[in-house]
Amino acid sequence: MKRILLGAGLGVAAALAFAAPAQAAKTLVYCSEGSPENFNPMVNTTGTSFDVGLPVYNNLVQFERGGTKVIPGLAESWTVSDDGLVYTFKLRKGVKWHSNNDFKPTREFNADDILWSFNRQWKKDHPFHKVSGGAYDYFNDMAMPDLLKSIEKVDDLTVKFTLNKVEAPFIANLAMPFAIIQSAEYADFLQKKNQIDRIDQAPIGTGPFQFVAYQKDAVIRYKAFEQYWGGRQPLDNLVFAITPDAAVRYAKLKAGECHVVPYPNPADLEAMKKDPNITMMEQEGLNVGYLAFNVGKKPFDDVRVRRALNMAIDKKAIVDAVYQGSGVPAKNPIPPTMWSYNNNIEDYPFDQERAKKLLAEAGYPNGFETDLWAMPVQRPYNPNAKRMAEMMQADLAKVGIKAKVVQYEWGEYRKRLQAGEHQMGMLGWTGDNGDPDNFLHVLLGCEAARVGGSNIAKWCNKEYDDLVLQAKRTTDIAARTKLYEQAQVIFKEEAPWFTIGHSIQHMALSKNVVDYKMDPFGVHRFHGVDLKQ
């Protein structure tokens, strides 16, 4: 009996000894929604995977916390040549690399790391190009291989990027998760040990948090990096507790097992808002859901028909019913949080009488038959396309238009839309780099109107296209804003889309989380966050 008591006593003592420093250390628990593929945002495309790489790494430039403004990162400053083709970056001095049990860095961050990181994605013969699958989707999607002419090291702390053509959003691209900087020295070390795969599994970065450990489907651990160039973080530890079910995440938040919870169930929002121990945050996502009219097909080649449809559908009713409080009606193709959003534009009113008149003018007094494509899956900008299609169908029937809902498997769906097989089709977009070009040119420019391009209205308007192309070639933000505002006016008049809505993202936090900022790109960042004890 004595021995048992002694054992128990030791156990309690050990627990106390462990608990004491643990209580002093600030550990923030984020109940993340899934396991990452690896820890390298270069090779991933999902928010879940970006989230786990962001604490570890830095980019040359970065987005301001909670915003889309680009600020210095590993580059202290940069200059652009007069012709807009050469970007020279002055790198930050004294930036330290993380270390782990195997690897201890012997040098600070320098230009070699920049070259190494971009070449890994760019050059097919780079020794690390094939690591982790080697599909650098974002690097390719942002057209970096076409854009980059050369990257040169001027000296240890100066790098020069030369482009093939002028591209104003280039700087914003460099702040995207795919453009993180890895350590060339760590890569050499792993290559010598014949463990190159480790680079994306046991990451070494310059970021605010150091990677500690990962247990698949269970937990990811980080600790504050003492020598972080941006200052040591207020948190001591950052833990991702992987919790795939939204109802369970909510339960864990209530039980105090996590501090920050993403993607709450819409059905739980009301209760969460009422809970005095929970802070709810919301933000309009950097996205848009829309219905595109294929102007290459009758009757949508007629602008009057497109305008008529814009007036025939009750947008507010659809947004209320389908987004259930997690969306706002859209009038422009870019979200309201994005710079150059033209708030002076007035949306078409919901007026079925006027719609009928316009249809009659266009030669369709009795309406017509059309298809109406709806996504088979939930997307960030559209929680339920099928339901939306049914509501649109009902509205359109009232002006004499018979719409047939068409659905395909997701990959097939997108491919056929891009090929232009539809008459009307729903789709949407989530912003990559916070630049209006990423919506206005990528989704509506003439170049993208080709078969297989992402302009699924297949709409090519010379006047509009000139404006967005000019904006692409202008580096001055004020001048670009004017051009984009004008482009939005043409867009509304020409009505290639029925703009549906922008979804709102929600986050639930426990009351003691301080200074968490929601990210407009929908990723989750924890630098600068604190916990009240």
Binding site: G11, A14, A15, F18, A19, A22, T27, V29, G34, S35, E37, N38, T45, S132, G133, G134, A135, D137, N140, D141, D197, A213, Q215, K216, D217, A218, V219, R221, V239, A241, I242, T243, P244, D245, A247, V248, A251, K252, K254, A255, E257, R379, E409, W410, G411, E412, R414, K415, Q418, L427, G428, W429, T430, V442, G452, S454
Partner: protein
């Protein structure tokens, strides 16, 4: 006996081949391509799609892919996951212990509670206890796992705070995995606090996963016992003046166990199926959750390998049960 075992083992081979073929085919019948599924709204240029398909070996004719796969399987190579590019085998065996731990705990729970409950219900046939056990087990059997899990979480974890909501170990603890079985690893590391925490985390998922087998075991035990209790040799034993404990515990139970053992063996399949849901609710890092994700990502090699390894496990357990059945019931092994 040896011949009996050999016959049973030889029957496993066609099942094994069938499972390999079916999983290979079925996942490919699901619409959606592993690469297309990954790209978002932007899509992927055709030439890049071709290049990626070639790199992943998806451009080969189906029969060739299948032959390559079978060749790999026979040499113990289940391929690389299309998503993480890690060997499927190593991913599976990192996660499998968690599933086994949960399944074994659930089975123990089901047997330790179900067997006595069934026996008592049979002995006290028609009593309130009997009706209670049967009623509860019917309810348990019909309970949707997801709902049941959430209900228990809300009551015990959120309401009473007795158990943690989800996970396998408190975040305060960190135990380097050795065997992958948390209860064993924590003990090996000498961290008794962590062991206690792991045990705590196991309780709710164990109950949730064990509920259906518990209901089955209780009902099966009851009906088997009832049948046996009506036999002549039981009357004889009673007439000899044996204590009723001995009659029930020795004579009746041993004979009643035969069908019960079979049923328990068959529950292994149910358990692994239920584990998928249970693991999702309780964020339990086992193979169930991993398989679901593999389906969503159309990760062919991971899914094929995972299903194959689980099927092999189920077959092995069923084989073991058959053999055990033979041990318990001499008539079986002598008739072959």
């Amino acid at each position: 006996m040896l011949r009996f075992i050999l016959t049973r083992v030889s029957l496993v081979i066609p099942t094994f081949l069938g499972v390999t073929f079916l999983t290979f085919l079925l996942i490919r019948l699901v619409p959606g391509d592993p690469i297309e599924v990954r790209v978002g709204e932007r899509g992927i240029p055709p030439e890049r799609l071709e290049q990626l398909r070639r790199e992943l070996g998806l451009d080969l004719p189906l029969w060739q892919q299948f032959l390559d796969y079978i060749g790999g399987v026979l040499t113990g190579d289940l391929g690389l996951s299309l998503v993480t590019r890690n060997p499927v085998i190593s991913e599976f065996f990192t996660l499998f212990p968690a599933t086994i731990e949960l399944a074994v705990a659930a089975m123990l729970f089901a047997t330790l509670v179900g067997l006595p409950a069934g026996i008592i219900a049979a002995v006290k046939r028609g009593s309130i206890f009997d009706h209670g056990v049967m009623g509860i087990s019917l309810t348990g059997y019909s309970m949707p796992i997801f709902w049941w899990g959430l209900l228990l979480i809300l009551f015990f974890s959120v309401g009473l705070g007795w158990t943690p909501v989800s996970g396998r170990l408190d975040l305060l603890h960190y135990v380097e995995p050795v065997t992958g079985f948390m209860l064993i690893d924590t003990l090996l590391a000498g961290e008794y606090e962590a062991f206690w925490s792991a045990l705590h985390h196991l309780v709710l998922p164990m109950i949730v996963l064990g509920t259906v087998p518990l209901a089955v075991v209780a009902r099966m035990t009851r009906s088997a016992m009832l049948e046996v209790l009506g036999e002549d040799y039981i009357r004889t034993a009673k007439a000899k003046g044996l204590a009723s404990k001995r009659v029930i515990g020795l004579h009746a139970l041993r004979n009643a166990l035969i069908p019960v053992v079979t049923v328990i063996g068959l529950q292994v399949g149910t358990l692994l199926g239920g584990a998928i849901l249970t693991e999702t609710i309780f964020s339990w890092p086992g193979v169930g959750k991993w398989l679901i994700e593999s389906i969503n990502r159309r990760d062919y090699p991971a899914l094929q390998g995972g299903v194959l390894l689980i099927a092999t496990t189920v077959m092995a357990v069923n084989l073991l049960v058959d053999v055990l059945y033979g041990v318990l019931n001499p008539r079986i092994r002598h008739s072959r």
